[in-house]
C-alpha cells in the first residue's frame, strides 16, 4: 500500500480492516494529487469523524480532522480564509448525509470551491455497523432489527437538485476511474461532489466488491450522455439495480463563493496584513461634536 516517491505518501499503518474499500480510495487520492502536480503543503484535507474521517492522517498534507458531520462548514471557512489551499473535504456517508445533511445542502448552494469525497459504504462503520441514510431498504443492523425502513438517500440527485456544479460517483474498486474522477473534481472551479462506492468488508454484506463488480459501468464512456443536461442527469442517478452508473453525472460552471467576495479576496485573507487605516477612518467618521 506504500506509494513511495510520491509527494502524497501513504502511511503503512492504518486503523482500517484488511480489505476495506478505503485503501482503494486513499491510493487513488494520492495518485490524483500527485498527477495534478500539487505539493503536500498546498493541500488541506478536512475530515469528519468515522473510518473515512481518518483518511487524512494516512496521507501527506495539512489536516484538519474535525467533528462528526461538520466537514463541510469547516472546509468552507478554511477555503474562504486561504483560497491558495487546495481543500479536499473527506467524510463518510453518515458524516455527510446524516449528521451533516444540512451542511451538504448549503455548501452546495454556496458553491465553495472545494472537493468533497464521500466514502459511501452505506453504513456507519466506526460505530459498528448501524444503518446510514445510504443503507438499502430492509438492511438489518443493530439499530434497525426489523430492517431499514427509509428509502436510501440519493446524494447525486440531491446535489443536482441544488445545482451542484460537479456531481460524480466513482467506485473504490476501480482505481483508474476514481483517480480520474478525483482529478476532474479538484480541477473543477466550485463545489465538486464525488460519492465513492466503498465496500465495508466488516459490516456491509450487501454492497460488496462482488456486488459492485457485477454492476458498475462507466457513464463517462457512454456516447451521447450530456453531463450539462440537468434533468437527464437527475433521472440517471436513479439507476440503481442490475446496472449502476459511475462517472460525472452533471457538470456546469457557476460563480463560486469566493467570486462573491472578489472585492475582498484579491489575495487570500490570511496573506492580507491587517491595516488599521479603515478602522481609524471609521472612528473619525463616527465622531460627534
Amino acid at each position: 500500500m506504500a506509494n513511495r516517491g510520491n509527494e502524497f505518501n501513504i502511511c503503512k499503518e492504518t486503523a482500517w480492516c484488511p480489505g476495506c474499500g478505503n485503501f482503494g480510495i486513499i491510493r487513488s487520492l494520492s495518485q490524483a494529487l500527485q498527477e495534478l502536480g500539487l505539493r503536500q503543503n498546498e493541500v488541506l484535507f478536512v475530515s469528519g469523524i468515522g473510518q473515512a474521517g481518518k483518511t487524512p492522517h494516512y496521507i501527506k498534507g495539512n489536516v484538519l480532522n474535525t467533528l462528526h458531520g461538520r466537514t463541510l462548514p469547516t472546509a468552507t471557512g478554511a477555503k474562504l480564509a486561504n483560497g491558495d489551499l487546495t481543500v479536499i473535504a473527506i467524510g463518510g456517508d453518515g458524516d455527510g448525509y446524516a449528521e451533516g445533511g444540512n451542511h451538504f445542502l448549503h455548501a452546495i448552494r454556496k458553491n465553495v470551491n472545494i472537493t468533497y469525497l464521500v466514502h459511501d459504504n452505506q453504513v456507519f462503520g466506526l460505530t459498528k455497523g448501524q444503518a446510514s441514510p445510504r443503507s438499502d431498504l430492509g438492511m438489518v443492523t443493530g439499530t434497525t432489527p426489523q430492517g431499514v425502513e427509509n428509502e436510501a438517500f440519493n446524494p447525486l440527485a440531491t446535489a443536482i437538485t441544488l445545482n451542484g456544479g460537479f456531481v460524480a460517483r466513482s467506485y473504490a474498486g476501480d482505481q483508474a476511474h476514481l483517480t480520474r474522477t478525483i482529478k476532474a473534481a479538484v480541477e473543477h472551479e466550485g463545489f465538486a461532489l464525488v460519492d465513492i462506492l466503498q465496500p465495508c468488508v466488516t459490516f456491509n454484506k450487501i454492497n460488496t466488491y462482488q456486488f459492485y463488480r457485477e454492476r458498475v459501468y462507466d457513464l463517462d464512456q457512454e456516447e451521447g450522455y450530456d453531463r450539462t443536461n440537468r434533468q437527464e442527469a437527475w433521472a440517471r442517478t436513479w439507476e440503481w439495480g442490475d446496472k449502476i452508473p459511475i462517472g460525472i453525472f452533471y457538470q456546469v460552471e457557476r460563480p463560486t463563493l469566493g467570486d462573491h467576495f472578489s472585492a475582498i479576496l484579491d489575495q487570500p485573507l490570511v496573506r492580507q496584513e491587517y491595516d488599521s487605516t479603515f478602522v481609524r477612518q471609521l472612528i473619525d467618521q463616527l465622531k460627534i461634536g
Partner: protein
C-alpha cells in the same frame, strides 16, 4: 447628579427608534453625556415599546425610572408611563391618537397636545416626517436654539434629496415652536463645560468595531436577537474593512466555518445568543482539543429556551463557563459598557490566539442595544498579540503542531506558510497531531493543554473598582450591571455610606486578586441579572466563599441603581 430623562413610547413600527436616533445625535452634538436604552417586544409591528434617553453634564452610565418628558405615540405609553413622570414633567401626546379619552388618561398631568401627523400634513410634508415633529418638540425642553437639531437632521438625511432635509427641518421647527410656546422659559439641563469629541455607540456597535480594530478577518453567523446587530455591522463594513462575513445555514455551520478559517491563520469570530450558543458548544470543545483560537460573542437574553427574545438577562454565565464537555482551557470575558466592549474584543482575540483556545465574550441585550457617549477609541491602546507563530524556514518539514513546550503553548504554523504540515485533530493526538490511544501520551497532551489554563488564570483581567477604598459594603457584579453598580455606589457614598463597587470584566478564570477583596472586612453583595445566582456559584466554586446577600433580577428588565438601592433597602452600612 441630576439628569434629564426622555422617554418615547409607542408601537413597533411607529418610528420611536427614528425619533430616538435623531435626538441621540443632536444631544451628543450639543455636548451632553447620555445613556439610552431600548425596550421592545419580539414582533415587528404593534405591541408596546419604548426608547429612553438620559442625559447630563457628566458621564451617564445607567438608566433611571423617573422621566422629565414622556412622548406618547400610543395610549399605552400614557397609561404605563404616567407614574414614572416627575411632578414637573410633561407628557407630549397626539390628541388624534388619544381622542376623547385624553382627559381621563392624562389625569391632570402637565401635558402638551401635539398632533404629529396633522402638523406635517398642514405643512404639506409626507407623514413619515412626523418623527421630526416629535424630535423638534422634545428639543424645546433641552435648548432654546434649534441650530444643532437642524444640523443633525441635515446629517441624518444627508444622502436624501434636498426637499427631504428641508421638510424635516421645517416640521421639526413646528414641533419645537409648539412646545416652546407652552413651556416658556423653563430651565434647561446643565451642559458639560468642555465636552469635546465623542462617539455615540451601543454595545452592538462597540463589539464589532473592537473586533475590526483587533484585525478581524472572518466572521460567520446566523441571525439571533440580540446578537444580530454585531453580524450586520460586520456585514455592512465588511467590504471596506476587507473582512469576509458569511451568513451560515445554522449556528453549527457558523462556528465550524469560523474554526476552519481560524485554523488557516486569520482572526475569526461568530456571534449568537443562548440557543445558538448551545448549538455551538460541541465545536468549542473541538477548538479546545485542536487548540484553534476562536472568539464567540454570546449576547444573552432571558431563557430558558426562547424565553423573552428581546429582553435582557445574565443567565448564560454558568453555561458559558462550563462551555462544553471535557476539560480544556478557556476564558470568558464580560464587558460592562460600550468602552469596555470595544477594548475587550481586542483582549478576547489576544487571549484566543496567545493560548490557542476558545474565548467567549458575554454581552446581553442591555449592553447590546443601549447607547452611550464615549471618548473616541484610542487605537494605540489596542495591542495585537498573535501569540507564538512561526513561518518561513523555521517551519521545516519536521514541524509539530502540538509540540511539547515548557508553557504548554506550541508554536502555530499557518498551513502553506512553511514546509511543515499542519495536522490538527479533535481526537486525542500526539505532538504531530496524529491519533493516539496510549494512556501516558494522552495524559501528557492533556497536561500540556491544561498548563495553558494556569497561564490564562495568572493574567486574568483585574477587577475594576469604584467608590470607597475602605469599604464597609462591597457590591460585586459583571457585565452590563457595571454602570448601575457604579451609580449605586456613588449615591451611597454621597449618603455617607462607605461602599465599593467591584466589576469583573473577566469571569473565567477569575483573577486571584478577587480573593483579597473577598477577604476584606465588610458586607458583600453580589449583583446579577439571573435567578439562581450564577456569578455567586462561580465565585464559590473557585474561592469556597459566600456573600452576605445577593441582588438579583430576572424579569427581563435591566438592573439600575434604584433597583440595587431598593433591594438593599437601606441600612446596608453598619450603624445605620
Amino acid at each position: 447628579m441630576r439628569t434629564f430623562n426622555i422617554k418615547i413610547g409607542g408601537e413597533a413600527g411607529q418610528g420611536l427608534v427614528s425619533i430616538g436616533n435623531i435626538l441621540l445625535r443632536a444631544i451628543t452634538k450639543e455636548g451632553w453625556y447620555l445613556f439610552a436604552h431600548q425596550d421592545y417586544e419580539s414582533r415587528i409591528r404593534g405591541g408596546h415599546n419604548f426608547f429612553q434617553i438620559r442625559l447630563g453634564d457628566q458621564p451617564v452610565s445607567s438608566w433611571e425610572k423617573e422621566v422629565d418628558v414622556l412622548v406618547a405615540l400610543d395610549k399605552t405609553t400614557v397609561t404605563l408611563g404616567q407614574e414614572e413622570l416627575r411632578s414637573d414633567g410633561f407628557i407630549i401626546y397626539d390628541p388624534d391618537v388619544l381622542g376623547d379619552e385624553a382627559d381621563t388618561l392624562l389625569n391632570q398631568r402637565n401635558s402638551i397636545a401635539l398632533p404629529f401627523v396633522r402638523v406635517v400634513e398642514e405643512l404639506d410634508q409626507p407623514k413619515i416626517m412626523a418623527n421630526s415633529v416629535a424630535a423638534g418638540a422634545i428639543w424645546a425642553f433641552l435648548s432654546d436654539d434649534l441650530t444643532v437639531m437642524q444640523e443633525t437632521l441635515e446629517i441624518i438625511f444627508a444622502n436624501r434629496s434636498r426637499e427631504i432635509v428641508v421638510g424635516n427641518q421645517l416640521v421639526a421647527e413646528a414641533g419645537f415652536a409648539k412646545v416652546q410656546e407652552i413651556i416658556g422659559e423653563r430651565a434647561k439641563p446643565a451642559k458639560p463645560a468642555h465636552p469635546g469629541e465623542r462617539l455615540l455607540l451601543k454595545g452592538n456597535d462597540a463589539l464589532p468595531l473592537g473586533a475590526l480594530a483587533a484585525g478581524l478577518k472572518f466572521m460567520s453567523a446566523y441571525p439571533m436577537t440580540p446578537a444580530t446587530g454585531v453580524t450586520e455591522f460586520i456585514a455592512h463594513y465588511g467590504q471596506d474593512a476587507k473582512v469576509v462575513m458569511e451568513q451560515a445555514e445554522d449556528e453549527i455551520s457558523a462556528i465550524n466555518m469560523t474554526i476552519g478559517a481560524s485554523y488557516t491563520g486569520v482572526r475569526a469570530m461568530t456571534a449568537t445568543s443562548g440557543g445558538g450558543f448551545a448549538l455551538m458548544t460541541e465545536a468549542l470543545s473541538l477548538a479546545g482539543s485542536a487548540e484553534i483560537p476562536v472568539v464567540v460573542i454570546n449576547a444573552q437574553r432571558p431563557g430558558p429556551s426562547t424565553g423573552l427574545p428581546t429582553r435582557t438577562e445574565q443567565g448564560d454565565l454558568s453555561f458559558a463557563v462550563a462551555m462544553s464537555f471535557g476539560d480544556f482551557p478557556r476564558a470568558v470575558l464580560a464587558p460592562g459598557d460600550v468602552e469596555e466592549a470595544f477594548y475587550l474584543m481586542g483582549e478576547a482575540f489576544n487571549l484566543a490566539e496567545e493560548y490557542q483556545m476558545p474565548v467567549v465574550v458575554l454581552s446581553d441585550q442591555h449592553l447590546a442595544d443601549s447607547y452611550t457617549t464615549v471618548p473616541p477609541f484610542d487605537l494605540k491602546k489596542v495591542e495585537i498579540r498573535r501569540g507564538k507563530v512561526i513561518a518561513g524556514p523555521e517551519a521545516g518539514p519536521e514541524y509539530l503542531r502540538y509540540q511539547f513546550t515548557e508553557d504548554g503553548i506550541s508554536p502555530r504554523l499557518y498551513p502553506g506558510f512553511g514546509k511543515g504540515l499542519v495536522v490538527s485533530a479533535g481526537d486525542e493526538h500526539d505532538e504531530a497531531g496524529h491519533l493516539i490511544e496510549d494512556g501516558e501520551a494522552r495524559k501528557k497532551m492533556m497536561e500540556k493543554r491544561m498548563a495553558k489554563q494556569k497561564l490564562v488564570e495568572a493574567r486574568a483581567l483585574e477587577p475594576v473598582l469604584c467608590g470607597s477604598d475602605e469599604p464597609e459594603v462591597i457590591l460585586i457584579g459583571f457585565g452590563s450591571t457595571k454602570g448601575a453598580i457604579a451609580e449605586a455606589v456613588h449615591i451611597l457614598n454621597q449618603e455617607g455610606c462607605k461602599v465599593q463597587g467591584v466589576h469583573l470584566p473577566q469571569v473565567f478564570p477569575l483573577p486571584s486578586s478577587l480573593e483579597d477583596i473577598l477577604q476584606e472586612p465588610g458586607r458583600k453583595f453580589i449583583v446579577e441579572s439571573n435567578y439562581s445566582g450564577q456569578l455567586e456559584a462561580l465565585i464559590a466554586a473557585r474561592f469556597a466563599w459566600k456573600p452576605t446577600g445577593s441582588i438579583r433580577r430576572y424579569d427581563g428588565r435591566p438592573i439600575n441603581a434604584e433597583y440595587i438601592l431598593s433591594t438593599l433597602q437601606g441600612g446596608v452600612c453598619r450603624g445605620k
